[in-house]
């Protein structure tokens, strides 16, 4: 009897710990939100030097070298959505004032929406995200005013809905091509299981598989530049797909993605 009471007590304690962790998590998120806009202003890439100590020669020399090829960058908030948000901002930026390309993307968006519905997703909620995605996209038809794009991506309502929809596209693409992508999974038994834990929930960080799936689904190549402590002279580029010639570049530092602009 005593042991049973103890166990019950422990379960209640577990729950209290869950709540404490959740509260701490919220506090950390607020701090990050105060420090960094969802998508930051255009800044010079070599300002990154300020983030590293003078002795940190690996990073410093790689940054100096990189800033000769990529002069400008935008930082994104480190909330786990940074890859999707960085990609979306830069992709939308390349579409500004190009109604033909915007229409092509709209067709693709509609295709994925109907694929999702065939996979059994709730059309009522999927349409909500799709509608906002298309609504914001259409605002870019006849403008090249970057302030509009900055506004769209720094309004958490529209910005997060765009991220949700890209996550749904990735989930849909992976489920419909699971024969190929299943080989990439380590801890999950099924693609559905992987997507519902690692793709669809917001704030879940992106890995290679997310990047490969998104670039293949949208047929938009991306260059990821890896900036880390690896013993090389230059930050290492990796194009997705391998043989592509991307216009969109993203800087990866362990755990985080920012937008960078090639000269």
């Amino acid at each position: 009897m005593t042991s049973e009471t103890n166990q019950e007590f422990n379960f209640y304690e577990d729950e209290l710990i869950d709540e404490k962790i959740a509260a701490q998590q919220t506090a950390i998120e607020k701090e990050i939100a105060n420090e960094q806009k969802l998508v930051g202003d255009l800044i010079e890439l070599n300002t990154l030097l300020n983030e590293y100590l003078a002795e940190d020669t690996v990073y410093r020399s790689k940054i100096t070298e990189l800033s000769e090829r990529f002069r400008y960058m935008r930082k994104t908030r480190g909330d786990g959505n940074c890859f999707f948000r960085a990609f979306a901002f830069r992709y939308f930026e390349t579409l500004m004032g190009k109604p033909d390309e915007i229409n092509k993307l709209k067709d693709l968006v509609n295709k994925f929406t109907s694929d999702l519905s065939q996979l059994g997703y709730n059309s009522f909620t999927v349409d909500d995200f799709k509608d906002v995605f298309i609504e914001e996209l259409e605002k870019l038809n006849n403008t090249s005013d970057i302030r509009l794009l900055e506004e769209i991506f720094n309004n958490s309502g529209s910005s997060d809905y765009i991220v949700v929809f890209l996550r749904l596209i990735v989930s849909c693409y992976l489920q419909n091509n699971s024969d190929f992508y299943l080989a990439f999974l380590e801890t999950y038994q099924s693609m559905k299981d992987f997507c519902s834990h690692e793709v669809e929930p917001m704030y879940r960080e992106s890995d290679h598989i997310h990047i490969i799936a998104l670039t293949n689904a949208l047929e938009i190549p991306v260059g990821i530049i890896y900036l880390d402590r690896a013993d090389q002279e230059k930050a290492t580029p990796h194009n997705f797909p391998d043989d592509s010639n991307p216009n969109i570049f993203i800087l990866y530092r362990p755990g985080h993605y920012d937008i960078i602009y090639r000269n």
């Binding site: 379960f11 209640y12 909620t125 909500d128 995200f129 309502g157 529209s158 949700v164 519902s196």
Partner: protein, 166 residues
């Protein structure tokens, strides 16, 4: 100001009215769209049959990016429900998808009632009885079914005040 969370909750409510799922109901409280009351009717052919279980759903401005906090207000005896009514259900935690709406949340909780997950125990005693002594488990569930008819509304509104976001 209409935020995405509030707009989406209005739409969730409309869908719940236009296309009501069997055995669940829910609505925002009069003065606060972020706080909902809901009722789940115990599913047929389960020990929970005929129970009317009240719940509260507390949403934040991050909805639907983040799930609401859902609690049973009515007393519950179930392997995956904590003593304070909190629910241990993956879609309300690490498997949350922004495509779930209130209707999907309530129907998932309803199916959890007749299909407990023994791997995530929140009530050890209920979990143990469910595994080892079905007869006693059903007896204990039937007690809370009867209690669910007696819930008085004063208690419920006190609970709401306690849960409401500041």
């Amino acid at each position: 100001m209409t935020t995405t969370a509030r707009r989406r909750l209005m739409r969730d409510f409309k869908r719940l009215q236009d296309d009501p799922p069997v055995g669940v109901s829910g609505a925002p409280t009069d003065n606060n769209i972020m706080l909902w009351n809901a009722v789940i009717f115990g599913p047929h052919d389960t020990p929970f049959e005929d129970g009317t279980f009240k719940l509260t759903l507390v949403f934040t401005e991050e909805y639907p990016n983040k799930p609401p906090t859902v609690r049973f207000v009515s007393k519950m005896f179930h392997p995956n429900v904590y003593a304070d009514g909190g629910i241990c259900l993956d879609i309300l935690q690490n498997r949350w998808s922004p495509t779930y709406d209130v209707s999907a949340i309530l129907t998932s909780i309803q199916s959890l009632l007749h299909d407990p997950n023994p791997n995530s125990p929140a009530n050890n005693e209920a979990g143990q009885l469910f595994r080892e002594n079905k007869r006693e488990y059903e007896k204990r569930v039937q007690q809370i079914v009867q209690e669910s008819w007696l819930d008085d509304s004063d208690e419920e509104s006190d609970q709401n005040k306690a849960d409401a976001p500041k």
